[in-house]
């Protein structure tokens, strides 16, 4: 007599149970909080402390931002309107934004630096993003001359002739470079100088042609000055830095030592002493009677400063290249300039791009130091004319906070770009 279980059991499951959902503490937001905020008692304490800190900061900052006064003529008016609500006096920004951004630049010409600023993006785009068409580089090459004409004004002949000198120099160089690099280089240089010398007379004659209103260098200020110093000095210091780095790696002892002394000297002193040199000492070392713009003297010193740092970055890139690359270039029978131009530098520069970008960010931040030698950049404008005026004496947070935000946006943007680029370069090297 057999009794099958089928008949004795009331119910037999034929399909497997679906998995039970994880317990409430192991899923969703609760799990996330358990793992990320309160995994250990110490962690929980730190979470609470952080929340308290965030609360205090917000309790201080939010009323300041939200109750801020944006329309008032002076700090006293501001305080009356805010009337103890803790609101900030942002009216200083709406009233003095032109000083903060443009310094004492003539008001009816603000479109010129603004246009130059917008064109800057178009000009550096092909440099920053390798997948854009290479033809855009032509505009990048033209940009410095356009920007100079827009910002400083004067006749268009000056930048055009300057450009002409470069073009003539390049044509001569490309004709002669097949014979030898040195011949091409010096031939091009000579041709450019001759062109500039000849056209110098012509630009005096045609000083009215397509002339924008001339703007004195000392009228340029505010954040514009920081931008100008930053872009000009970084772009000028790059070629100088490459030359210094190659010189330091050179096998010729005298050339090497000249570069080492220059680099170590510049890196050993603070930028502020170099700016003092630009301000008070440089004039002693120039031929008697020469007197050129403070802004130009500052550009020279900051460029030297940045070049020394960039040289060290590029030296790292050169050292990181495998020895085989140098030997391969030798075995192909390339001479030194060819090997550097065609084999070594393209690879070394690619490796050192993130480092160069870091130097550029640091340099851009350091352009605020010119306020100490009485140039009116963004910080100089705040410390000088605005805080010294009776209307706005005492508005520290709003002004310095504004400056901090402007610098943060630019510098954070550049450093994010550098990290993006680093990832790009990493993928194609693996």
């Amino acid at each position: 007599m057999s009794d099958t279980p089928h008949h004795s059991a009331a119910f037999v499951r034929t399909t497997p149970l679906p998995p039970a959902p994880p317990p409430a503490t192991e899923r969703g937001a609760i799990k996330w909080i358990r793992e990320n905020l309160t995994s250990t008692p110490a962690n929980a304490v730190m979470t609470v402390l952080s929340l308290v800190a965030i609360y205090y900061v917000l309790a201080f900052v939010m009323p300041w931002l939200l109750n801020g006064v944006w329309n008032a003529g002076s700090i006293r008016e501001c305080r009356e309107i805010a009337a103890g609500s803790g609101g900030g006096c942002f009216a200083v920004l709406t009233e003095r934004w032109h000083q903060l951004l443009f310094g004492r630049y003539p008001q009816d010409a603000y479109w010129r630096p603004t246009l130059a600023f917008v064109l800057l993006f178009a000009a550096i785009a092909p440099v920053l993003f390798q997948n854009l068409p290479r033809k855009l580089m032509i505009f990048t090459a033209l940009y410095p001359f356009v920007a100079y004409w827009l910002v400083w004004g004067g006749t268009i002949l000056t930048p055009v002739f300057a450009l002409l000198g470069f073009v003539v120099g390049y044509v001569v160089y490309s004709r002669l470079v097949d014979k030898s690099f040195a011949m091409g280089f010096f031939g091009g240089l000579l041709a450019a100088i001759v062109t500039w010398w000849v056209t110098g007379f012509a630009s005096d004659a045609g000083s009215g042609l397509l002339a924008l209103e001339q703007v004195e260098s000392r009228e340029i200020g505010g954040f514009m000055l920081n931008m100008i110093l930053g872009t000009v000095c970084v772009s000028l210091s790059l070629p100088l830095g490459i030359v210094l780095a190659l010189g330091r790696q050179s096998s010729m002892p005298i050339i090497k030592w000249i570069c080492v002394v220059f680099i170590e000297f510049i890196r050993g002193v603070p930028l502020i002493t170099l700016l003092f040199v630009a301000n008070v000492v440089l004039a002693y070392f120039l031929p008697p009677g020469t007197n050129f713009d403070l802004i130009l003297r500052v550009i020279i010193m900051i460029t030297m400063f940045a070049a020394a740092y960039i040289a060290e970055v590029i030296r790292g890139g050169l050292a990181a290249l495998p020895r085989g690359q140098y030997e391969a270039a030798d075995s192909l029978g390339l001479d030194y300039p060819q090997a550097m131009r065609l084999i070594i530098l393209p690879q070394a520069l690619k490796i050192s791009i993130p480092g160069i970008v870091n130097v550029a960010v640091g340099l851009f931040k350091d352009t605020t130091l010119v306020s100490i030698i009485a140039m009116f950049d963004l910080v100089g404008m705040i410390r000088g004319p605005i805080l010294a005026s009776t209307d706005w004496n005492g508005v520290y947070w709003e002004l310095l906070g504004f400056a901090a935000v402007l610098f943060f946006v630019v510098c954070y943007g550049i450093s994010q770009y550098s990290q993006w680029l680093e990832r790009q370069l990493q993928t194609d090297r693996r």
Binding site: E35, N36, L37, S39, N43, M46, T47, S50, L51, A53, I54, S251, M252, P253, I254, I255, I258, E264, F265, R267, G268, V269, P270, L271, I272, T273, F276, V277, V280, V281, A283, Y284, F285, L286, P287, P288, V361, K365, D366, T368, L369, S371, I372, V379, R383, G394, Y396, W397, L400, A403, A404, F407, F408, C411, Y412, S415
Partner: protein, 404 residues
């Protein structure tokens, strides 16, 4: 039959200086050397001509003249009748003080922020990321000014501490934060205090000696001595004992309100605190990134290998991870110290009298000796940075991976 013959020995010809790579480098170097000499000569002749036109000369005699200006923060005796040289030395000391304080504080900030940024606590890691990004991406000059204005514009004046119902109160009855600076207790050294200090220094040396001995014992015999509590005991016990044996020779002088200002105690100027704190917090953000990179550079395999050898977590950290991470962290750390020292020249923006403020500021303006003053200023900074680089090279050689 072929024979190998030596290639014909060419005698040296002048054209080989240009055409032969063996000799061409001499030509280049010679030209470069001449060029540099000509350039320097040109600069010097210009300077000589300019100085002659202005009726000036180069002389360091001004260093011996009376300075005639006051310095508000002076670590050594100084008054306005002292020489420019002494004023410069006060400046140098002030620079060194703020650099030293800044480096220590920056290291503390940086190490804490760097480690916390790697924490598995989400909110703490994010907060530290915000700190690092906010401070790295804004010029240090702006931070110095912001903290300086907090110190001078937001803190109460000393007279707010007056009366029975003062508007502001002192912290622990010892520290007063005013817009003229921070007033803190000042230690008074009486006879016999030197012995206490020496005892303290000796016990610190003793801690190191004991730890060294414990490590040696561990490596030689495998016996493990406790290190933490004996170090703590060595740190406190002998000094406190000696303090009471010598009859309490060190006492604190507290700042007290008298009239409209504080007397007694130690006044730390707002400018020093602003500079110190701003430099520390700014450099700390950079150090945090170095520390983070150093810890991340040690591969996970190292931790796992150490664990598989049976080491406990704190010993893994001390014996395996830290020694390797430090090799990555220390060189950029030292260059951050160097940066901090150079950035301390921004003292001039808040009126802290460091060497840039005295020698490169007031002395230069009063005497008009721009070339000499700035030359000395640069030499000072150059000496410091070369000295630190030299130390760094020694350290790098010491911790270099010993490869065969």
């Amino acid at each position: 039959m072929t024979t190998l013959t030596d290639p014909p020995q060419e005698s040296f010809r002048l054209s080989m200086l240009l055409n032969d790579t063996r000799y061409r480098s001499y030509t280049f170097q010679f030209i470069a050397l001449i060029g540099v000499f000509l350039f320097i000569g040109w600069l010097i002749s210009n300077a000589a001509q300019n100085l002659e036109d202005l009726g000036q000369d180069i002389s360091f005699g001004f260093l011996g003249e009376a300075a005639g200006y006051d310095i508000n923060q002076r670590p050594i005796e100084y008054n306005s009748q002292d020489t420019h040289l002494r004023a410069s030395i006060v400046g140098v000391l002030n620079t060194l003080i703020v650099a030293f304080l800044g480096c220590i504080t920056a290291t503390v900030f940086g190490v804490i922020a760097g480690i916390l940024r790697l924490s598995n606590n989400w909110i703490v890691a994010r907060l530290m990321a915000v700190y690092v990004e906010a401070f790295r991406n804004v010029p240090v000059l702006i931070w110095i000014l912001i903290i300086f204005f907090i110190m001078t514009a937001s803190l109460p004046a000393p007279r707010a501490f007056r009366g029975d119902e003062p508007a502001a109160t002192m912290l622990f009855d010892a520290f007063a934060f005013t817009n003229r600076g921070v007033y803190a207790p000042k230690p008074i050294w009486e006879a016999g205090s030197m012995i206490v200090v020496i005892t303290f220094l000796l016990s610190v040396a003793g801690i190191f000696a004991y730890r060294r001995y414990a490590t040696k014992l561990l490596y030689d015999t495998g016996r493990l001595l406790p290190t933490f509590w004996p170090s703590v005991a060595l740190f406190f016990v002998p000094t406190i004992l000696m303090y009471f044996i010598m009859g309490r020779p060190i006492s604190l002088e507290y700042p007290e309100m008298s009239g409209f200002n504080f007397t007694g105690g130690m006044q730390v100027r707002g400018s020093l605190i602003a500079l110190w704190f701003a430099l520390a917090i700014y450099t700390g953000a950079f150090i945090a990134e170095n520390v983070r990179a150093g810890i991340l550079a040690i591969s996970k395999g190292q931790t796992e290998a150490a664990a598989s050898l049976g080491l406990r977590p704190n010993r893994i950290m001390n014996l395996v991870i830290l020694p390797q991470a430090l090799r990555v962290i220390i060189p950029p750390l030292i260059s951050q110290y160097l940066n901090l020292t150079k950035n301390s020249s921004l003292a001039i923006a808040v009126g802290y009298m460091d060497v840039t403020g005295t020698l490169g500021g007031i002395t230069l303006n009063q005497t008009g000796r721009a070339i000499e003053a700035i030359l000395l200023l640069m030499l000072f900074y150059l000496t410091i940075s070369l000295a630190i680089s030299a130390i760094m090279n020694v350290y790098n050689n010491a911790v270099k991976l010993k490869e065969r």
